[in-house]
Amino acid sequence: MELAIFLIFGALAVVSALVVVIHRDPVKSTLSLVVALFATAVLFLLLGAPFIGVLQVLVYTGAIVVLFLFVVMLLNLQREARSEGGGRLQRIFAILAAATFAAMTGITVWRWTTGANPGALDEGFVSLHALAAELFDRFLLPFEIIGLLLLVAVVAAYVLAKRPDPRSGADPGAESSTEATR
């Protein structure tokens, strides 16, 4: 049963990851990423990490991907979608590099952990209570810093995406924006 679920959702994750990379339409790529992340969330459940799986669905597919979709639709990238050029040589070498990486990692992983079956899941490992206790004890400082990082990111995103004020002539982006409209 576990094997069947792993095979189904592992294959789903790989196929949708391929669609993300290959598809020319950014909207469909983004929607395919949702499928890949969802399949990974199921694998997290299989690995005895239900909290991480739920968080993956909530944060990744719920917040981050929606942000992506929002930006894709905001930017109206019809022209971009068609003009997907790129050097052929570059593409071949990129695929070669990625395949080499996958092969090397795969061989290493296979040698080191093959046959390493984890024991049966016990109640304590899955429990959210223990996870939270560890998060707010050993990882309290990183947790606070992550909160600060998110705040900084929100402020940075606001400042970057803000429409430049038309009244202020000394805006650094004013020159290039007039250039673009010309």
Partner: protein
């Protein structure tokens, strides 16, 4: 039957390789970002798999932080793309090469 952890790790390696290929070959800024998310996701899978193998919850907590950093990265990166699109009317990374040469 329980699935060996090495299968999860292999799956994560394959997904990481797919993400790397996308980040290196695509020219559309958004798709490059999606590929990076894919790579982060496969690393998360590796962390959770090792957490299961070693029976140690630290891996899951690190995934929590990776998620938060990915969210921050996506917010700032997409804001950058919006600003870029507003000025240049394109997010094709081949045509945004002012700081490259």
């Amino acid at each position: 039957m329980t699935v060996p952890v090495s299968w999860y790790l292999l799956l994560a390696a394959v997904m990481f390789a797919i993400g790397t290929t996308g980040a290196l070959t695509r020219r559309n800024g958004i798709t490059i970002f999606l590929s990076i998310e894919l790579m982060l996701n496969s690393v998360n899978l590796t962390l959770v798999a090792f957490s299961r193998l070693l029976d140690d919850r630290t891996g899951q907590l690190v995934v929590l932080f990776v998620l938060a950093v990915a969210a921050a990265e996506a917010a700032v990166g997409l804001a950058l793309f919006i600003a870029l699109y507003r000025h240049r009317r394109t997010i094709d990374v081949d045509r945004v090469n002012l700081m490259r040469w």
